[in-house]
């Protein structure tokens, strides 16, 4: 089947438990996710949502798999850009593996269509979000406070992970 896929890997000096908490504590998430609020209770089958400060919904989806502190899978669809929404659901997997004094975090984002605009859009944001997450866990501060250089982050196409 045709698909578009990105794989991101970062090694973070922390424990799988702390990283898991950082990935699922919605208050903590907001710090490295450029102020976007996540709504989710992290149970398989539960709804999942990313919401901008002004209340607009960026992305919606569903928790597919929760296996703390190893694996989290989210069914994910963009909600506010019609052409991205039209592409339907993507699948985002977080894999955590202990790695000599650190944790290897692999984020795989895939959609079942070739040349996906959605995957292209999130590919700009994931490195920033993950780099921020790494800085926050290792040094207590985020590296970036804005996703884009200009103020009109949203006109560039999207949600937290950067679509």
């Amino acid at each position: 089947m045709e698909k578009s896929e990105f794989v991101y890997v970062t090694y973070i000096r922390t424990t799988p438990e702390k990283l898991w908490q950082a990935l699922t504590d919605v208050k903590f998430m907001k710090q490295y996710w450029f102020g976007v609020q996540c709504h989710c209770d992290w149970k398989a089958g539960s709804s999942w949502k990313l919401v901008y400060d002004d209340g607009r919904v960026a992305d919606i989806g569903e928790v597919v798999e929760v296996d703390p502190p190893r694996r989290l899978v989210i069914k994910w669809r963009n909600e506010w850009k019609p052409e991205l929404k039209a592409e339907g659901h993507s699948r985002c997997t977080f894999d955590l593996e202990p790695w000599t004094g650190a944790v290897k975090l692999t984020v795989t984002h895939v959609i079942d269509r070739a040349q996906s605009k959605f995957i292209e859009a999130v590919s700009g944001g994931w490195p920033k979000v993950l780099s921020n997450l790494k800085s926050l866990l290792e040094s207590g501060t985020v590296a970036l406070t804005e996703m884009y250089k200009s103020n009109d982050a949203r006109t560039q196409g999207g949600q937290a992970a950067g679509s």
Binding site: K128, L130, S135
Partner: protein, 113 residues
Amino acid sequence: MCGVMDAVFKALADESRRKLLDQLHKSNGQTLGELCEHLDMTRQAVTKHLLLLEAANLVAVVWRGREKLHYLNPVPLQEIYGRWVEKYERHRLRALGDLKKGLEQNQPNQKKG
């Protein structure tokens, strides 16, 4: 994590390895065989370069059955950007902001004078 950044710069300091990254940027998730098709290098040379890129975390490897797929991992590049580009740009932008503020604040005085 000084050693990590050293590995990234070392990995980038080679034209063949930069070409490999470009190749993955064009089409992500390629096997060794697919990567070799587009490059004028022996399979052994490509393997060696890929190992260095993997060690620098610029290439992420995913096994699909017996296939080893290579993905461009831009996270270390983001860290370089954050440290060597964004940080300095921010200062320049702040300097411009201060200049603008200063000029705008001076305007009424100039009119008075």
